[in-house]
């Protein structure tokens, strides 16, 4: 790795300033950024360490839900009582991610801001649409783990296990740049390459994710998080399906969000509508399976993700119909 300096701001305002001055990346747990620096994928002169900023760790209950500080580790989030009680899919997805060692270092803010794992992007010497060049190596290259949806410009998959679940729970991402604060719905926070191939999240220079706000839990919801991957330890999802099912049934407000199959979590309101159409039986599963591949454009090596999604949604429906309300 190339030597770099570390700037240690005491406040978000200061952090914003440090970053803006020469485009220095933020570092939280470092499990993603340091790996990229070691491989010379990024060669920053300075990195801005967020960990000394106060008020960005821990989980607090508010009138309208919970607020998770961006520096809270993945492990702390997954094991927190209010999360396991009220947002169990979040706990479940984190426990599926990475390894205990990584979950102890990695922060939830870093998790949703991490860079995609495309192996071209993570090797020096492959310039592409995502890193300032043009074109995509994966589309006509080695794309077994790449996206099947929204993959025309850049076929990365959103690497975060947490992201699709935040979309499903209608989380708000709280952001601060300088003294300005704003809140963005998770669904809008994660963006696709046609919006901007260089970014995966809607952060402007100098903006820090300070917390994640999960709105008050809807007591009527049943949930399921299913994912498939090659290894159980130390591996990435090839596809995932997050489902929240409203007891309201036909009138309910359901959520179906696909993960690891597109550059951003993919909310599927067409499938949510189907969930309103009847009871959670085999016929329902068939209908969802028929539809789930709609809009996909598999590449040469990743067509398997469509049947995999069909399998995961079937398992999701069975989880929901078999599971007691949480």
């Amino acid at each position: 790795m190339k030597p770099f300096k570390v700037a240690i701001p005491k406040s978000v305002e200061q952090a914003s300033r440090f970053q803006k001055s020469d485009d220095s990346p933020f570092i939280a747990g470092g499990t993603d950024l340091l790996a990229r620096i070691k491989e010379y994928v990024v060669q920053p002169e300075t990195i801005v360490d967020l960990k000394r900023i106060e008020g960005m760790t821990g989980i607090t209950s508010t009138d309208d839900g919970i607020r998770i500080g961006a520096l809270t580790t993945m492990n702390e989030v997954a094991t927190d009582g209010s999360v396991t009680d009220d947002y169990p899919a979040l706990s479940e997805t984190i426990m599926n991610a990475a390894t205990p060692q990584i979950r102890n270092m990695a922060t939830i803010g870093g998790n949703i801001c991490q860079k995609p794992r495309c192996w071209y992007l993570r090797h020096e010497g492959y310039s592409c649409a995502k890193n300032g060049g043009s074109g995509c190596w994966a589309r006509e290259g080695e794309n077994e783990f790449h996206a099947i949806f929204d993959n025309q410009v850049c076929a990365v998959t959103s690497p975060s296990n947490v992201a699709p679940v935040l979309v499903a729970y209608s989380a708000l991402i709280e952001i601060q740049g300088g003294e300005e604060k704003r809140e963005i719905p998770a669904e809008d926070f994660f963006i696709t390459p046609d919006q901007d191939p260089g970014r995966e999240v809607l952060l402007e220079p100098g903006e820090v994710v300070i917390s994640i706000h999960l709105p008050a839990k809807n007591r009527t919801k049943k949930w399921s998080y299913t994912e498939a991957r090659e290894k159980q330890s130390f591996d990435w999802a090839q596809a995932s399906v997050t489902m929240l099912y409203d007891r309201g049934g036909r009138k309910g407000d359901h959520r179906v969000v696909l993960g690891a199959v597109s550059p951003a979590p993919l909310r599927r309101d067409d499938l949510e509508k189907i969930l309103k159409s009847g009871s959670l039986d085999d016929a329902m599963i068939k209908k969802l399976q028929m539809k789930i591949g709609d809009g996909s454009h598999p590449l040469s090596q990743n067509g398997y993700k469509v049947p995999m999604l069909r399998g995961l949604i079937a398992q999701g429906v069975r989880n929901i119909s078999g599971r007691k309300e949480g």
Binding site: M1, T99, E140, A228, E230, D235, N302, P307, G311, L312
Partner: protein, 777 residues
């Protein structure tokens, strides 16, 4: 004066007498009814605590005073000639103390894979070395490349090698009259071609006459060795003597390569140390370019240099198990007897010359075999021996053919079918153990009948690991009662050190904790490389002899001092006893105190030959049980029963550990590992341990190891190694179990969710393994 003795050989309830003419100075092997105090006991390896507490020092952990850091610049191009290497900018960088170029040192200006060594540099800090390495300017002539077996075999494919090297070359049957590096003698080659044609005709006729013919095309992937500790050494010149702390499977081989191939230092002035090795799996026999580079950089810099590979260098340049494409046709008669097998196979040595062969006809009685094998060069890192080279890939194909044949003969159970075609004296008894312990006949939801299906599969293995000549051991008994045994060979994690100590302790009649074991130092007596699973077969007979004669000397001292009959004395449990078992009143320690000299030292070499024993090979059977999620394609191996034998078991605990390791690596080969090459730039995309997927802890099955203790009479310890045999059958057993579970076959490893889903989807399409006749391979 060769002495003739009669010993018992065999196992379980299969024993017989064997008359053996002992070689000069050799002693009789331990007998089944003999009471042993150390050998055969489950003892934790001697270095367990040092390893888990981090006090064990591997090559990577050596930091001699003044040490600096080496780096190797590698080619980003898969096929190029190096036009020039300009070191001037790099030399001027801070901290740089030594540089070299590969074209100058190795007289090789071609880079035939992305990752090939171009130049090297040593600097005070790792960061300085990195920065300087990146300042080296290289001009290349870039050529077209092939990085997969398929593209390299295409007509008009770019040439991988140089000169008249063809991409595809027949490796067996071998062309005769081939001059080294040159073309075949056309006349002699024609004879081979004629014989091949005759063979093909004969076997084709047998296939046509068989009741059933099954055929299949099988693919196996490239598997890198991926040892935790990468290749390399810390090299230091001290008063003209070269000392290398190396990560190696062959301390003496490493030294030999530095001294013979490169000639700047004599064997007597080069010391290789390797007390702990973080894995090798067959890739660490050679000093490699990194070893030579380390020594040269250290010489130039005048200070020690650490030259260990980084992970990318390890993954791309330090060897791999080659991939294979195997096509087979097998003819079987209704009675279940195999008539003939036709094999055409292709394997990739990469850009190197390593063996690419698949051992796909070595197990079972296969009738007449017509096998033709080709090596296919690719612009990828060269293949090296990888735990049972050629066998897991061959077994993957052959064992599935066995199952397909059994299924096509209505009603023959795959295990019964194997037994019918197997005459290995040990394995025939091992099938039933595996069958029972895996619950072969248990009711299961299989054949794709539900969302979650389970299945079982079986496969066999074979190995040849009794070792041979080439080892000596030194036993020193000191007057203070301390005992040490020394041999210069390495322990690559297999337990060699522990087993050597146990053999010496048994023979000396003292407990293991009274013996200090010294290994991994070429200043000590000659020892074997850790290859072919022969290390302990080679080493332990020497250890036993040295201990035996040292004890004799000690007892002679005792007899002399006490006026006793030396032939009436022995040592047992650290007491000097008489032949009738009575105690002399002297402890081992007391006996040592009687010495005039400070120590007794005995250096003994092992007899060069092994005896014709009970079985020249070790066998083994593995059965796997898998669970497949039919909806997502995810395969989980639930259990593997591994029945293994390795001659006489010195330490069942370390033996079991070898088997576990083999099974884990085998499951990993079956399900997750593969090298991924980029078609655009010809680079390895998963030159790391993230996307190069090695089985994780949660993915490991329950492993039920059953060891069969065999008195094979082949040497005075009767030991055979067990490093390689346990990986041979695993992937094949898993593949057969997956086929049983999902009701169709996956003809290619790794069996990923993608391939399972694809196989399920094409289930309605004709099974390429179905009953078919006719078509040529």
């Amino acid at each position: 004066m060769a002495e003739e003795i009669t010993i018992k050989v065999g196992f379980g309830d299969h024993f017989r007498d064997l008359t053996v003419r002992l070689q000069d100075g050799d002693i009789a092997p331990w007998q089944p009814d003999q009471q042993l105090d150390v050998v055969g006991k489950r003892l934790p390896r001697l270095d367990a605590v040092a390893k888990v507490t981090g006090t064990a020092k591997f090559a990577q952990d050596q930091n001699p005073a003044g040490m600096i850091h080496g780096r190797i610049l590698r080619s980003p191009h898969p096929n190029a000639d190096i036009r020039s290497v300009d070191l001037s900018a790099a030399k001027a960088m801070p901290g740089v103390r030594a540089v070299l170029t590969v074209p100058e040192v190795f007289e090789d200006s071609s880079a035939r894979f992305a990752g090939a060594e171009i130049a090297a540099i040593a600097a005070d800090t790792e960061q300085q070395a990195d920065a300087a390495m990146r300042a080296i300017q290289v001009e290349y002539d870039i050529k077209d490349f092939c990085v997969t077996i398929d593209t390299s075999m295409e007509d008009g494919a770019p040439q991988v090698g140089r000169g008249d090297q063809k991409n595809v070359q027949r490796v067996s049957p071998r062309s005769r009259g081939r001059r080294r590096g040159g073309n075949a003698n056309p006349g002699a080659d024609q004879q081979v071609l004629d014989r091949m044609a005759a063979r093909e005709k004969e076997v084709s006729a047998l296939l046509a006459a068989s009741d059933v013919v099954v055929e299949g095309t099988f693919r196996t992937q490239v598997q890198t060795h991926a040892p935790f500790e990468t290749h390399g050494a810390v090299c230091s010149w001290e008063d003209g003597q070269l000392v290398c702390w190396a990560s190696t499977q062959a301390t003496f081989g490493f030294r030999g390569e530095l001294t013979s191939n490169w000639g700047q230092v004599k064997a007597s002035e080069c010391r290789v140390l390797s007390e702990y090795v973080g894995g090798g799996f067959g890739s660490k026999f050679s000093a490699g370019r990194e070893g030579v580079i380390g020594a040269l950089l250290a010489k130039e810099a005048g200070v020690p240099v650490k030259m260990m590979l980084d992970r990318s260098g390890e993954q791309t340049s330090a060897g791999n198990r080659p991939d294979a494409l195997q096509k087979m046709r097998m003819g079987v008669n209704k009675d279940g007897v195999i008539q003939a097998l036709q094999i055409r196979s292709w394997g990739t040595p990469g850009s190197g010359t390593g063996g690419a062969g698949a051992h796909n006809d070595g197990i079972y009685k296969l009738g007449e075999v017509d096998k033709v094998e080709y090596g296919v060069r690719t612009n990828c890192g060269g293949a090296r021996a990888h735990r049972a080279p050629g066998w897991p890939q061959g077994s993957f194909a052959l064992e599935q053919m066995m199952d397909m044949a059994a299924h096509s003969l209505d009603g023959i159970d795959p295990i019964e079918f194997r037994k019918k075609n197997d005459d290995h004296p040990i394995r025939v008894a091992e099938y039933d153990i595996a069958k029972e312990r895996i619950g072969w006949n248990k009711a299961r939801v299989r054949g794709g009948a539900s969302n979650i299906c389970t299945g079982v599969g079986i496969a066999s293995n074979l190995w040849f690991s009794a070792g041979g000549g080439g080892a000596s051991a030194l036993v020193r008994i000191s007057k203070d009662g301390s005992v040490e045994i020394r041999n210069g060979a390495q322990d690559i994690g297999t337990g060699t050190r522990t087993v050597m100590g146990m053999v010496a302790a048994e023979e000396l009649g003292i407990p293991l904790d009274m013996v200090s074991t010294r290994i991994g130092d070429t200043n000590d007596p000659q020892g074997p490389m850790s290859g072919g699973s022969t290390t302990i077969g080679t080493l332990t007979p020497a250890a036993r002899l040295a201990a035996h004669y040292a004890k004799k000397e000690l007892l002679a001292v005792v007899a002399d001092r006490k006026g006793w009959d030396p032939t009436d004395l022995d040592i047992r449990k650290a007491r000097v006893i008489r032949n009738d078992g009575s105690d002399t009143g002297l402890s081992f320690h007391d006996a040592c105190q009687l010495m005039d000299d400070d120590a007794i030292e005995v250096l003994k070499a092992r007899p060069r030959r092994n005896y014709a024993g009970f079985s020249d090979t070790n066998a083994g059977v593995q059965a796997a049980e898998v669970e497949v999620d039919m909806e997502t394609g995810v395969v989980r191996v639930k259990k593997v029963v591994a029945v293994a034998d390795a001659g006489k078991l010195i330490n069942p605990m370390t033996a079991e550990s070898q088997v576990r390791g083999g099974v884990i690596q085998g499951v990993s080969y079956a399900l997750t590992e593969r090298r991924i090459m980029d078609r655009h730039k010809g680079r390895m995309l998963n030159d790391d341990l993230e996307n190069y997927k090695i089985l994780g802890s949660l993915d490991c099955p329950e492993i039920d190891v059953v060891l069969v203790d065999v008195y094979n009479g082949k040497s005075n310890t009767q030991v055979m190694g067990l490093g390689e045999p346990p990986i041979v059958a695993t992937a094949a057993a898993v593949a057969n179990a997956v086929a049983d579970a999902i009701g169709t076959r996956v003809f290619e490893i790794p069996i990923t969710p993608k391939k399972v889903l694809e196989a399920i989807a094409s289930k309605k399409a004709p099974d390429p393994g179905g009953k078919k006749k006719g078509a040529r391979l």
